[in-house]
């Protein structure tokens, strides 16, 4: 499994964590196309922050090198944030390489 595959696996584990906090109709699918932000998203701002914190924990538990994901990500405004799980995985791989 490549870096991106491991990151996606970690993100899906974070989705499992966050789905415990969501009602069934709002639960996130474990798919790259899952929308996280924007007009079609299920998460509110608190839910998105909880996902980012869970993602940081899961990614750093499974993948090296560790990334300060929450800090790096949340400096951005909403329009610049990754809007899908796949885009978030891409960003994390970039951060790991930088």
């Amino acid at each position: 499994m490549g870096d991106r595959g491991r990151v996606l696996e970690a993100l899906y584990a974070a989705v499992d964590d966050v789905n415990l906090l969501l009602p069934p109709r709002d639960r996130l699918a474990k798919a790259e196309a899952t929308v996280l932000l924007g007009d079609a998203a299920h998460l509110d701002s608190l839910g998105f922050l909880n996902l980012v914190l869970a993602a940081e924990t899961q990614v750093n538990a499974r993948c090296a090198p560790p990334v300060n994901l929450a800090e790096r990500l949340l400096e951005l405004d909403e329009a610049s944030l990754p809007a899908t799980l796949g885009a978030l995985a891409t960003l994390i791989v970039e951060l790991q390489g930088s």
């Binding site: 969501l22 922050l49 949340l74």
Partner: protein, 479 residues
Amino acid sequence: MAERDTIDERIYGPTDQDRFAALSGDRNPIHLDAVGARREMFGAVVVHGLHLLLRALDTLIGTRGGGRPVRLRGQFPHPAFLAVPVTTRLVERAGDGSSRLSVESGGQVCLHATIEWDDAPAPTAPSAAVSEPPAGPPAAPNECAADTLTGREGRVDLWLDARAAARDFPRLHAALGPARMAELLALTRLVGMECPGLRSIFSAFDVELAPDAPPARALRFAVERVIASASFLKLRVAGGGIGGVLDAFLRPPPHTQATYAEVRARVASREFAGQRALIVGGSRGLGEVTAKLVAAGGGHATVTYCAGRTDAERVAAEIAAAGGHCDVLHYDVAAADTAVPALARLRPTHVYYFASPKIFVKRGGPYDPSLYARFAAVYVDGLESLVAACRAAGLPHLRLFVPSSTVLDEPVRNLEEYAEAKAAAEARCALLARRGVVVTLRRLPRIATDQTLTLIRHAAGDALDILTPIVRGMNDGDG
């Protein structure tokens, strides 16, 4: 064994809030001040998260026939509000003896927690005494700015009104004893009153409880991590028989609109001299800016309020202090007829209708008819009642501004009821126009107000930029 048993159902009210605030010492106004809370991110008074947890523990001890919680892990992903049923479910009783709880309200999960238990017999030695609650008036919460959190540490005195604890949480108090109860209750006092205090959102906890540890005089805390961009902090706590970590966010303050001095710099001193404007919902947000524009342009503004009298008086005082004209009027959109005498006295030439309930509401299902009804009662019925009241006050010629929304052009998930009510308001405006009311209707984008407060940086238009041309257009009714 997977289960999903409902173990408790209740509705929290103001008395519950007062009692828990007194017991815990967490008197953060988000839990107690209905008028102030309407300007906050959640838009209403929020039940203490720790209250949900302690209530669930107390119930669960009864359900399982005893035991002492020794480790508590969980999150508060969504607030619970007053007057909305709150259901506690036992989601799972795991093979290791731990319990997983979910507390839900309004279709949202408000607490998800895992509890580990010690089922050994309770210690027979009586617990040592815990300090009584402090005398004197309660202190106001600290307001820690995000840039002051790194490295912050301190202590919160431990105390307990043991009689009140035994009254409100009898099984939990009996199982834990007064020292552990005092330590648990201090967690919400730490977050809500001390660090980060006033602007806190208690988000998560992971604490262990040592049943036999002696009581301590204080709970020590240290900020372990701060993510300034997310307004997030992690606190490590220890004291007596409790230790662990807490997560919290700093919620944004209510949105501050342009000052009257800033507004005056945008308009000519007499350009709105012909407007005697009634601004419904003028105590804050778009109504506040409109009132300042009208007054800065030489017109006479009357701002109405339903709950926010202090806010309305603040707007009027700011305008009056700089020589402008602004009055304050109590006005309830659901009882417009009671305002007829005031309308007859004020004789407004222009009416701006900014009344609105909380817009961004998490709902329990795919579509909530009661939510639509709440919006329509204000946007449609309230508008009709206002026009009727103006007619009854002898004001046949009205120029009326009604804000609609761009969500009608670009649908937004979870705002379907809002959009539908705005569409109905537009249709009602067309009817009013046919009945001789000069109506100006604009679909406004997302604008920075209390309604659009969020924890993520979100682009939103500036109220002054957007409203200035609208108020100018209202001079001749073309908005």
